[in-house]
Amino acid sequence: MSTLIMIDHPPYGTWIGREALDMAFSLAAFDQPASLLFMGAGVNWLRKPQEAGSIGQKSVEKNLSAAQIFGIDAILADRAACEIYGLDENSLIKGVTLADADAALLSDYDHTTFAG
């Protein structure tokens, strides 16, 4: 019953990314396998450092860094999207695994959803 939560909205402009994280953390809290896949502009959630206080929001960087401690199986980032947005191992938060967002990846999960 593994679930993949996909995030393709860019950071901080909408609440959909945060609400996707809440879904993944909820699954983990109920001991359900859950992973996150960031793709498209969504990979920018994984850039460090984030100073979201400048726009009156709480940074999600700490939440993401602690995701595996809270039971999230994996934080996946689409390799091609990371290249487009200039994200590499120096600029990505720790614990991120690069992956190719394709049909083969989807087939590893029996439930896949966006938060909105």
Binding site: D8, M39, A101, S107, D110
Partner: protein, 93 residues
């Protein structure tokens, strides 16, 4: 109508980034069900030729798009329910 691995339900117009991503991640064993703004794909002719393509009649009619578009099957809500159960998995884009 059988043997669909994943049913992809797409309600985004063709120039929406998520529509592009959906088409990139479809495999030949999958089905694509166009609903909402997704039915506009029928007027572009840019559809994956491998996957089986369905379109929701109500949304096609609402947008004045003709029913004849290659190998696309028109479905109503009842058939949409059946499709969602026939597929092994469903992803709503």
């Amino acid at each position: 109508m059988t043997g669909i691995h994943t049913l992809h339900i797409l309600n985004k117009a063709p120039d929406h980034p998520r529509a592009t991503r959906c088409l990139e991640m479809i495999s030949p064993d999958d089905g694509l069900l166009l609903i909402g703004g997704g039915v506009l794909f029928l007027s572009t002719g840019c559809l994956p030729d491998a996957a089986k393509v369905f379109a929701l009649t109500a949304d096609v009619d609402a947008r004045g798009i003709g029913h004849l578009s290659g190998n696309t099957s028109m479905v109503d809500y009842t058939e949409m329910v059946a499709l969602s159960l026939q597929a092994h998995r469903v992803i709503s884009w």
